[in-house]
């Protein structure tokens, strides 16, 4: 018989959940080294914090980098005893569907929420390094300004041009195969991992350079997503014209890092190739039809 929530506390008492059979289970202290800055290029410095991890039996489920940052925020004192400030970073859903907490962890870009410390720092005294993404201007600490990515989505008209929100019946039918392909592309959360890892994608602080510099895999893949939709395809020409131009599909260097780091495992390189074909055919057609 249930007496009260205190006996079975939803938030705190989750005995046994943490240990999933893998990784270390003992209590330990790890070090978290963070590249901080007051704003882009200003007062850039490294700070190191200690984070105490309870043993598996004491834990409320798996511990990730966000939990470490939360612990640091509640008592921001560096290893050398200096009182610092909570580390600034973006976060949202904490289950890897919003894309907010993207950062460079131990040298590679990924979401901090799905980065479990048992995988990254299995032993006492292990070090995890956190850096902001390098392809975007730093707002503060680990928070970067990714607005360029959203602007790029607008440049390829990443939407289906519907006739308003009126009741106009169903949308176009599609086969389960088409749906599955589109669904995969549609899970892109604009996190920017593919851009950070791309050797062709460059940091641009000057907005006037946005158009000329490589647009990156995410946006190319989104253009493909909308071209695949019956109504979306009515704007195919505009999208292909944009992608055929400077900073578009031709700037891809085919390192294929994008597909390796994509947390949603979106077939980005297939999108790039598919858009490569579309752009090629589009330009050939244009050449011969004169339109």
């Amino acid at each position: 018989m249930i007496q009260s929530n205190d006996d079975t506390d939803l938030a705190t008492d989750t005995r046994g959940h943490a240990a999933n059979g893998k990784g270390p289970s003992g209590a330990r202290t790890i070090r978290v080294r963070i590249k901080r800055a007051d704003s882009h290029g200003k007062n850039v410095r490294w700070e190191e914090f200690k984070v105490d991890l309870p043993s598996a039996g004491e834990r409320d489920g798996a511990i990730n980098v966000i939990a470490c940052l939360q612990q640091i925020a509640s008592n921001p004192v560096t290893v050398d005893g200096t009182r610092s400030t909570p580390v600034t970073y973006e976060s949202g859903c904490l289950e890897e569907v919003c894309g907010s907490c993207t950062m460079v962890i131990n040298g590679k870009v990924r979401q901090a929420c799905s980065c479990l410390v048992d995988d990254y720092a299995p032993n006492d005294g292990d070090l995890i390094t956190l850096e902001p993404m390098s392809k975007f201007p730093v707002v503060r600490d680990l928070w970067v300004d990714r607005s360029r990515l959203f602007k790029a989505l607008a440049s390829v008209k990443a939407w289906v041009p519907i006739d308003g929100t009126y009741d106009l019946g169903e949308g176009p039918e599609e086969t389960p195969d088409e749906q599955q392909t589109r669904y995969k592309l549609s899970t892109c959360m604009s996190c920017g991992c593919c851009l950070e890892a791309c050797p062709q994608y460059t940091l641009e602080e000057d907005e006037s350079k946005f158009d000329e510099s490589f647009v990156g895999a995410a946006v190319i893949s989104q253009a493909r997503y909308f071209n695949m939709h019956e109504t979306g395809a009515t704007m195919k020409k505009q999208r292909l014209d944009t992608l055929a131009g400077p900073g578009g599909i031709n700037n891809c260097g085919n390192s294929q890092n994008c597909v390796k780091v994509c947390p949603k495992e979106i077939p980005l390189t297939e999108s790039i190739a598919a858009m490569g074909r579309s752009v090629t055919l589009h330009r050939i057609k244009e050449f011969f039809s004169g339109r």
């Binding site: 506390d9 046994g16 059979g21 949202g92 289950e95 939407w159 749906q179 589109r182 109504t231």
Partner: protein
Amino acid sequence: MVTPSAQQRVIVVGGGLAGLAATIRIAESGMPVDLFSLVPVKRSHSVCAQGGINACNKIARQQGYSEYEHFDETLYGGDFLQHQPPVYEMAQWAPKIIDLFDRMGVPFNRTSEGQRALRLFGGSLYKRTHFSGATTGQQLMYALDEQTRRYEAEGKVNKYEFWEFLRPLMDDQGVCCGIVAQDLRTMQIRAFRGDAVVMATGGPGLVFGKSTNSVMCTGAAASRCFQAGAKYGNPEFIQVHPTAIPGADKLRLMSESARGEGGRVWVPAKKDAEGRWQPHPESGRDPRQIPTEERWYFLEEKYPAYGNIVPRDIATREIFDTCMKGFGVGGGNMVYLDLSHKSREELETKLGGIIEIYRKFVGEDPVEVPMKIFPGVHYSMGGLWTQYSPNRKYDEIAKKLREINDPIEARNLPVQKRNNEILQRNYEIDQQIADLRDKGGSDDEVQKLEDSKQTPEKLEPYVSLADLHGKDALPVGMDPDAPNNMMTNIPGLYAFGEVNYQYHGGTRLGANALLSCTFDGLFCGRSVVNFVRERAHTPAASLPSSIFDKGVEAEESRMKQLVESSGGENPYEIAKELGLEMTASSTVIKTGPRLEQSLNKLEELRDRYSRISLSDSGFWTNQNLSWARAVGDMIALADPIVRGGLAREESRGSHYRTDFLGRDDSRFLKTTVAEFDASTGRSKISFEEVERGLVGPRVRDYSTTKKSKAQVPAPTSADDPKQSPRVSDPNADVSGARDVRAPGDSEKVSS
């Protein structure tokens, strides 16, 4: 109609499903929108919604389902606490909303024929949930995000991302005329003029510390409106989702769709000589090796009709209760949610999103091994109190039905009262039995106690709209032209989505949230436009700047105060304690004394909050400041949640008080209305009738199929512990039971 003034604009706060739907609708009508969001709108919390969105559809319709059924199920699920006209309207609109998303390009799962696929969801025996993998919220919200981007590119929408809403502003007449907001990067505080303000700021999950909500779901925006004079409705109704995976930073949702697609909840157990389930003595066994006869599928056993897809509050209490009785996996607080009998291909196609989350965060593959889950705070049915105008036929029909039902109600209420007393006594007997068993009492003694339990009486059924007029659409929902639909008590200040208290009553049915959020934006967006047009002669732009300057000054001084305060209290610690306290007192199980205790704790936290110190006192991108400010507002919002829970001396939907078991319609078939008392900083609770002229309040019982016809007498209460176990053989072929609900097989479904 007055032409909208060129200067007029609308402010939308919040960029989730509701906010974006409103933005699109309003922008589409030619009204410029300023859209404020804490995060880039594409990262809003709506992306976390997984399972799907409900709507009557072609297949279900041919099986006997209808918009009316959807409406009725929603009321039934919500324990009849809703105002009925808005729910009616929402159900009517649901199919149109699906069509709209379809046109926007949402990749809904498809059948082999290319039709939109459907899945089963909590609280229904029909497949009426449309879905896009297990990331439906993400997909729907992206579709709206894309349309918003389109309007943004056309100059109709201005986005203010990384701006925090600080307070609504009212003119001398008390009409909302703008907001004060802060840029979280530069920390600049600014006032914005708006001829209407739409709050679409979601739920207050973080008040409970860890929840399935995103980190920005503090409820601070709603709290700021509340503190500015907006009423708050049904604050005590907090939904605890039955299936989540715990984590150090948050609880991660495992969608109800896992159960809708055939996932089964069980615990390892063993039957004793009398055939009663007992916790299995061996713990730590590999779940795959546990034989079928040692798996207790307790939901299927207790609720043979709905099985694993009973509404969330019921599933949550059962899981909770099962673990409390020592059945939890490994003796801990978790049960198995088992999908391992399903094919990998089907799971990847339909549930890929959640399977991936489980794999990433737990490290095990749900296709192979049953998932270990436990309930977690998920959704707030309560929210800012709002109004609406019923459509033209509502009053007439409601009057007619009330005339028939009032005498029935007069006969039923005393019965309900007696039944509640029986429930309460039976509950106490159960506790005595538990004590007796602990002390090793004899079976005879136990049996004697069991025999002393009473069975509640049956209630007389009410006559409903369908009994009189059939199930076809009637103009008894909301008036689409009325400007006050989903407007708070502050004229011009609207509340859409989770921050609106409407539609869900005592418990929200799964896959109704995406619907209500979008519906608010689309349907009531028009109301906003109408409101703005009506005030074209006094646009916000013409108001004196002193109103706006004052708001900015107030917020600047609040910020200054926070930054300069040096009492040594840590806002993170206070938030943590608040979360623990609220979870303990105001979630699954509530009691009067525990809630009283919480009020004292809130006093303590309030006091300590006045002495906090920030660890970052800078004026640039100071998240510490933003968080600390929100913590104060979270305490202010926790107050009505606790007080509402204390005042509501009954059990209804997610609000379950062991000291007041059973629903008390005579006193509490009413909306809890909380008002903030600025002089004391506490809230005042009052109750207000709900508009329930279409369907009478049946007893909510998910152990049998739903009976909506008046001719069929409703069975006894679900809360009656004696009535619950109906199937003696837990190993009965439940997979067969699930097939009953497959499309094309309608005759077994009651209507």
